[in-house]
């Protein structure tokens, strides 16, 4: 039955950043229709998708899942979360293991709908052969304008962003679900799914999602580990934090809409775009803002965003402190000489096998070429030697040779002849960092059926089925 009003709680800015228990319980007391949290991102870079590991610490992920799931179950409220950071199936599996633990600990049975977001290479290659044209989302030179078979083959792992339609379909087809856990998902879609299911206008539902997706970051004072209550009804919605120490104001709400977005007025989503240029934000009481006017602009075709990474090598680093004023004064000469000596030593391998990069903190490491004042005016600097090579062993060798050369290289006027750099710890000359990836797929994949690339399943967790000794260990 479609409801004319929905109360939805956004539990945190990101699953694993922390859920405020008092705010959550206060929201639950008000009678909720859903508890939602997003927990996937590309912000932390391509590494996590490359290796299939969660971005947040497992302990933090478990704690947030535990608070959300137990509160939802106790109050008979559905939960919808995306989890695991990169969204790889391996991280979804990890989240489900944590849920199993939580069920045992709380003597709770749970039925969870799962949306797996890894997209198989075969599916994409077949699609490309059938003529699918997936355009890059950002016009960057590194990305192929149209996704190619080679792109797909070279990718270590590819995920697609689950849209609200997939969440809605899974929910509708499985009436017994306590909640849904997704891999990589469109953040906004998680919050829009329930309003869309209850027949609310798409512009309103997507705008609701946009404001709700980061919890109390839309409040003032903002917080990444506190929640936000949203009440959607008729043609508008209201947002307020349940924590009395915070409030929503039109500035806090619109200001938040800026965050990590390239365009404050329009946001491209699967199947269309949210236009908030005509939206209005009204303070209705001390702590509540009423929002109206978000408009959905339908696109010509439905697309999902693909994210894929390819491995570019392995990294090894050395952190080199410099205090000697003579070394600082001659730094460019010393670094140039070091590079020449490294290239000479490894000449037999060819230059394309490794890349050596010096980042000089205290000069222009952070801003690079656009540093407006690239002169060293401090008494202490740091040189980060960053080597990426075909193999870990080679990266370590190049880094080690480069750091020892840098340490012992002579130059005119050298006073401190025992070493040019201070290495802060051991191992220090070459610290293996592991595999290095880059985003090579950042494309919009057109679809007829929004659920086509995704696998879904229903997982049942019953604490009673667990061996007694396993139960003891977890209590």
């Amino acid at each position: 039955m479609a409801k004319s009003e929905l109360k939805i709680y956004s539990a945190t800015s990101f699953l694993g950043h922390g859920v405020d228990e008092r705010s959550l319980q206060e929201a639950a007391r008000l009678g909720l229709d859903g508890i939602i949290a997003q927990g996937t991102t590309t912000d932390a870079g391509p590494y996590y998708l490359g290796v299939g590991k969660p971005v947040m610490a497992e302990e933090a992920l478990r704690r947030d899942l535990e608070l959300i799931i137990t509160t939802a179950k106790r109050n008979g409220v559905p939960f919808i979360v995306s989890a695991g950071g990169c969204g790889a199936d391996a991280t979804t599996r990890l989240s489900l293991d944590l849920v199993k633990d939580i069920c045992v600990q709380h003597e709770m049975d749970l039925t969870v709908g799962v949306i797996w977001s890894d997209v198989s290479h075969d599916y994409l290659i077949q699609g490309i052969r059938d003529g699918v044209q997936a355009e890059r989302i950002v016009p960057h030179g590194r990305l192929e304008p149209i996704l190619t078979e080679d792109n797909v083959r070279q990718a270590t792992r590819i995920v697609a962003q689950v849209g609200p339609e997939v969440v809605m379909q899974l929910w509708e087809e499985n009436p017994g679900l306590d909640g849904i856990i997704c891999g990589r998902a469109l953040d906004v879609g998680l919050y829009a799914a329930l309003p869309l299911l209850h027949g609310f206008d798409k512009g309103l539902a997507m705008h609701f999602g946009k404001i709700m997706e980061d919890g109390a970051l839309a409040a003032t004072p903002g917080s990444g580990n506190d929640g936000l209550l949203g009440i959607i009804s008729g043609g508008s919605f209201c947002v307020l934090p349940t924590n009395p120490a915070r409030r929503c104001t039109p500035e806090s709400v619109t200001g938040h809409a800026f965050y990590e977005r390239s365009n404050p007025n329009q946001e491209v989503n699967p199947g269309g775009a949210l236009d908030v240029s005509g939206a209005s934000y009204e303070q209705v009481d001390e702590r509540t803002v009423k929002v109206t006017g978000g408009r959905w602009v339908e696109a010509e075709r439905y697309t999902v965003k693909l994210e894929g990474v390819r491995q570019v090598g392995y990294r090894s680093i050395c952190i080199a402190g410099v205090r000697d004023p003579r070394v600082i004064a001659n730094l460019d000469l010393i670094l140039d000489d070091t590079r020449v000596l490294v290239e000479g030593f490894f000449a037999h391998l060819g230059r394309e096998k490794y890349a050596l990069n010096f980042k000089v903190y205290g000069r222009n490491a952070v801003l690079g070429n656009c540093e407006p004042s690239p002169a060293i005016d401090g008494h202490e600097i740091c040189v980060l030697l960053d080597v990426v090579a075909e193999a870990q062993k080679l990266a370590d060798s190049v880094c080690s040779f480069a750091s020892s050369t840098l340490a012992h290289h002579g130059f005119p006027g050298r006073l401190s002849t025992a070493g040019n750099i201070a290495i802060p710890f051991s191992p220090g000359r070459a610290v293996p960092v592991g595999p290095v990836f880059e985003f090579s797929i950042w494309h919009a994949w057109p679809l007829e059926d929004p659920g086509e690339p995704f696998r879904t399943s229903v997982e049942r967790f019953s604490w009673r089925g667990v061996e007694p000794h396993a139960l003891d260990g977890l209590r």
Partner: protein, 102 residues
């Protein structure tokens, strides 16, 4: 006076690994209007400041409702490139601090 003399917040962040987005917020409308109307914040000024081609400046938006200005541009070096040292793009706003307004 410089932008930092007017604004309350001048921040940067990634909007994807390929785009830097800069947000400027003001605590009062007068300061916001002064900066908005000064025409100091233009695609040309941003291209010059960040040493990027003019066509890489994706847009500048003045949002009166929240006294905010947003600037987005393609990163000269994407955040996942080995030569980039700011994965989240959170330290890219300082060149704007000193921008001359009047």
């Amino acid at each position: 006076m410089r932008l930092m003399d007017y604004a309350e917040v001048i921040r940067s962040k990634n909007a994807s690994p390929f785009i830097t987005t800069l947000d400027i917020f003001f605590s009062d409308g007068e300061k916001y209007q002064t900066v908005r109307d000064s025409e100091a914040i233009t695609p040309q000024a941003i291209a010059e400041l960040y040493k990027i081609p003019l066509e890489d400046v994706l847009g500048i938006w003045f949002v009166d409702e929240c006294l905010g200005i947003k600037i987005s541009f393609l990163k000269p070096v994407p955040s996942d490139d080995p030569t980039c040292a700011d994965l989240y793009g959170a330290q890219q706003s300082s060149p704007l601090f000193e921008l001359n307004i009047d």
